[in-house]
Subunit: 686 residues, 2 copies
């Protein structure tokens, strides 16, 4: 006999009707997937998930990720029914400006939304990250008798998510990592926007996931048979050494006259269709956004159970505090996003007497110095460990213990050659709440992960890219690997810090700001080639994003530069002085976004009125007009050759800079009262 | 008895020694994969591939793609041995500046290199595109008795390529498309840069490819058994309704003292190691870059056979010309990259009396009008056909005939939700030489394909992105789908045209330039919302990239805008005139890259000295400082809501523009001789 009642069915139909009402009211949105997935959503939320809507941030809650984010009315309906801070009016404001119910789920806006989804393939990859974070946090903090962290991560996904390469990368790694705490439910409705999936997607998905090492379950009737759905989820929970994919056969837009067709995918139902839907499900066709009280009661009962579970957990955690004070306090601290007191004292400091070192190596130095003081810092590389230098000495790999290659308490990640998957996984890891993830690759290949980096920025997570080989200075690998457009790309992305440190102190500064910026991702662009430790650089100055590295009275020109070109600009100062009797000052600008946030008088002191300026950066000049009058860069692809030969070819030498500095001075000599580019006619909206 | 002799083995060892010599000479590069794959490379080039080194562009040649592009010394050695225009001195110049043997293979530089590879996963995806192009070209041009186009595409790839999501996308589609002409050979050496593949890559690759619908062959000894290798390739050729993956077990760096370890992956062998290698293989350890004459002879014999094949083919093609004159001439024309005479007369032309239409719809109009006149234009969408409007009326789908959904002669592609795969496939299709591919998705998701777009630009192929929903103007889908940084990103990419047309004539102009630019990819950013047909726009003006749309004598300010904001700028002119007695002129700038290529006096006529200018574009302002004195844009994420509400929120209204125009005039009023941003102190290197 089924353990489900008519009220369960009513709850399911309520979700369907709410989805139809909200999309019709918004005159936009996706009713089909919410209506098709309402049964599994109900079963999952009502019978399996542990959560407390009054405290959506409870550490040990089960995580729910809607990878097919266009189905968000499903999630909003659930959050409302279960008592999260999301009212019926919020549902009515679906897809309206400034609502907490936007067209796709946004984590930073809506209580109960764990990660920002919609761009397909991201959510399931975030879910892998959430599951990794759970496994690691459990391995570090659980103790005998204290199974503090044991939550599951559940993810809904559609055909689109399965077609995206990012999910392939993340799911292959999830299989390797044997993440038994991850349960993905595939809405197998055979419909995409273009129509039947047989037009483009005829692979054997289950076989593919088996090849990744996943456990597979199939539910042939996801529309009606709630017991089968519950059995499938239960079976998935019991397999603890493999992630599970549940194939759930559903009918898109179940209940609509057009159910099972792509007409219900991305457009609201017509009025007469909604009318028959409500009649069929026993709702009053004259009413909209109606929720039967017994449905609220059923859902709130589950929420109350979740709240009680949290209360139990709080008691356990209080007991844990007595026995494991340090761990307890550490876990509290991590959840606040704050770093351990005094951690920053471990950041390396350099003087000009220290040897020239590549900034990728300077980054490794930072990791070696701070890894103990910042235990929540975990990360790795997309198969470029020896090039990115992302692994501190003696690091233990995060690996399933069965492999013999590491443990789940390990903090170093072998992401494989999977940049996009790594980026999306980092977003999930950061969203879990106890970790700060970093990932290494060549700067040029951060672009492979652009979709994930964008969501780091939009969802305001602290993820750090260790992006080495940051310019044509990588030399022989050539133009296929030499970034030109990359910094411009990510500087144009809102809420993303792009750092390009010039030496050791600036590298320490980059880590300092990246690690202390709770709501902003960072990309650290680091050199392959050696860079001298500069006279005049300090961590304190560099954390302002831009500062005067070399001042001279009565300067004729300001040279502004970043990273590996700063030391060449310094040499150009000598060249200009000695050969041309020209006085140049030098500004180092390791991070434009941080510089922009400084008070205007500071910025004007760095880039003052009255003298012309020339920026020097060995890639696209795009964006530099905001800070400099003239720009020296590389608006073409690079070349394969020894680093110094490549720099010489493109005139990134003291002489090449001096030549352009002279041209700049000459071009601006007749302009009275030269205005710093810092001065603008109006403020930008932010 | 083996059909291979000692000379075959000598040829293989010659490749190995050349790879060791060249990487040692360059003091950089990857000897391991060339040494491991030398046997299969020899068998493939010597026994299977049809090619004529004297005419590397012969249409029906077999295509060879080195997806693991870091192994390029393998390819360079082959090209040299078989008599392509690549001398022993070119091998000595491996990875040197301005050589034709750069660190990764670049198609536009090196004869015999089909596509530019190195960024992992791209080559195999290009190979899918080459195979698609072959299937389509064959279906269109082959006739009974004229099997004109029947070449195979062979691709080498490594573990890294298999881990990348882009290859997963492309290979899933290749299986669906039943591309029997595609043969991929996986260098299964168990080693990546980080070490053993068991650290991150333990999936069952063969099972995965079976799940995609591929045919699978395994060669357990790829180091020695040439007959097994030949058998495997032969079997692969015989399976004509499935692509084949050959798993070839090899030893990385075969012959080195460190063979089978990641030490030989990315660093040259030490001198003593090279010495023992040469001794072991019977080479003089004192000599470098030595090629035994019998090896040249063996290779040149194969090349001569290829040349004879081409000669045979030329005769067949000459006979074809008699019977199928039109098709013959069409094929010749296509290979030159030239469009059919008069095609451009089909481009739609509009007057202000025509109704307001979304530019995605204007793009559909272009496709509907030109598809007959431009038969080499083929394309589709990443599962957004109804949104991108990429399908002309009555188009036939490119599908395996067995599916009943289309034919290989079909010109419309169902790419599935696979943006990155689509981009890389387009690069392969374009490289084949008979097609101009286009692909549709939302502008925001072109970023998923950034890795492929970059290679379109670097390898100079004509691929076109139909990128709709190009701004916050898409409305309700919200910030997850609203591009902010995307145009800046691709404008910063060298050799990539970014078009954002404002109306019908500009949309026709965008297609005109995109289709006639043989060596440059284009991104067409198109609106979801309706746009009026503008007074003053013409195709002739718009193909200059930027032009004066609205002129007024004694103007106080220039408003520069693109796409959907141009019509709002025009409304702002009225607002400024009527409410503030201010005279504004308007410049439409649909394509910066094309505008930049105009003579300076033209550019100065559009953006003259003497008056201040304000740019208006509803996304990142980055890059606009190059053209305007002040910038109105959106340097934050957008919002979910009805399109007009979103525009209003961010003040993209005639009033919002007028306010900023006034601020601009005010800010610049005391500056004498305002200089147009077109004037620069020095020229950029290009």
């Amino acid at each position: 006999m089924s353990s489900f009642t008519e009220t369960d069915q009513l709850a399911i139909n309520t979700i369907r009707v709410l989805a139809a009402d909200a999309t019709a009211h918004a005159n936009s949105g996706h009713p089909g997937a919410p209506m098709g997935m309402a049964p599994v959503a109900h079963v999952l939320f009502n019978r399996f998930m542990n959560f407390n809507p009054k405290n959506p941030k409870w550490l040990n809650r089960d995580r729910f990720v809607l990878s097919n984010g266009h189905a968000c009315m499903l999630q909003y309906a659930l959050l409302h029914l279960y008592g999260y801070a999301l009212t019926i009016d919020d549902l009515k404001a679906f897809r309206r400006i400034d609502s907490i119910t936007p067209g796709h789920p946004e984590a930073h806006d809506t209580p109960g939304v764990e990660v920002t989804t919609g761009p397909l393939g991201q959510g399931i990859s975030n879910a892998v990250g959430l599951a990794i974070a759970q496994a690691h946090t459990a391995a570090v903090f659980n103790k005998p008798g204290y199974d503090l962290v044991n939550n599951y991560t559940y993810c809904f996904l559609g055909d689109g998510c399965l077609m995206e390469g990012v999910s392939a990368e993340a799911c292959s790694l999830a299989g390797h990592l044997q993440l038994g705490n991850l349960i993905a439910i595939w809405d197998d409705n055979r419909i995409t926007i273009d129509g039947d999936t047989n037009q483009a997607f005829t692979e054997d998905v289950l076989k593919r996931y088996e090849s990744y090492g996943w456990h597979i379950v199939t539910v042939l009737d996801g529309d009606h048979n709630l017991d089968l759905i519950a059995d499938a989820i239960q079976k998935a929970k019991e397999v603890t050494d493999k992630p599970t994919l549940i194939q759930l056969k559903t009918t898109i837009g179940f209940g609509s006259k057009k159910q099972g067709t792509h007409d219900v995918h991305g457009s609201p139902l017509k009025a007469d269709d909604i009318k028959q839907l409500k009649e069929k499900f026993g709702f009053n066709p004259e009413e909209s956004f109606a929720v039967p009280q017994e449905v609220y009661d059923l859902c709130h009962k589950a929420s109350a159970k979740g709240a009680a579970k949290e209360e139990e957990w709080n008691q356990l955690f209080a007991k844990y505090a007595e026995e494991f004070k340090a761990e307890h306090d550490d876990l509290i601290r991590r959840q606040k996003g704050e770093l351990a007191e005094g951690w920053e004292k471990h950041l390396p400091v350099y003087t000009p007497a220290d040897p020239a070192v590549a900034s990728r190596k300077l980054s490794e130095n930072v990791l070696n110095k701070i890894f103990e003081a910042v235990p929540e810092l975990v990360g790795g590389s997309a198969d470029l460990t020896g090039s990115n230098l992302t692994r501190w000495k003696g690091a233990i790999d995060f690996q399933p213990p069965a492999t013999g290659l590491g443990t789940y308490a390990g903090r170093y990640f072998r992401f494989g050659v999977r940049e996009h998957g790594m980026g999306a996984i980092m977003n999930g890891m950061a969203a879990y709440g106890t970790l700060i993830p970093y990932g290494g690759t060549f700067l040029n290949f951060v672009s492979y992960a652009a979709g994930a980096v964008r969501l780091s920025a939009l969802s305001q997570v602290r993820a750090i890219w260790v992006a080495t080989h940051d310019s044509i200075g990588l030399g022989e690998d050539g133009p296929t690997h030499q970034p030109i457009e990359t910094l411009a790309h990510f500087r144009a992305l809102p809420n993303c810090m792009v750092w390009r440190p010039a030496d050791g102190n600036e590298t320490s500064a980059a880590y300092y700001v990246a690690l202390t910026s709770k709501h902003t991702p960072s990309i650290l662009a680091l050199s392959r080639q050696n860079l001298p430790q500069l006279e005049g650089s300090t961590i304190e100055k560099a954390i302002k994003g831009g500062y005067v590295l070399h001042e001279v009275e009565g300067a004729d020109v300001t040279l502004i530069s970043t990273g590996s070109e700063v030391c060449i600009a310094i040499d150009a100062v000598k060249e200009l002085k000695e050969k041309h009797n020209i006085k140049a000052r030098v500004v180092s600008m390791p991070c434009m976004e941080v510089f922009d946030a400084q008070p205007k008088d500071y910025r004007l002191s760095v880039l003052p009125d009255g003298i012309p300026s020339l920026s020097i950066e060995v890639m696209s000049t795009m964006g530099w007009e905001k800070y400099s009058h003239e720009q020296f860069g590389l608006n073409r692809f690079g070349a394969s050759g020894a680093y110094l030969d490549v720099y010489k070819k493109f005139e990134f030498t003291p002489e090449g800079i001096a030549k352009r500095a002279i041209a700049t001075i000459d071009f601006w000599k007749d302009v009275p009262n030269i205005r710093s580019p810092i001065n603008r006619a109006f403020q930008q909206l932010i």
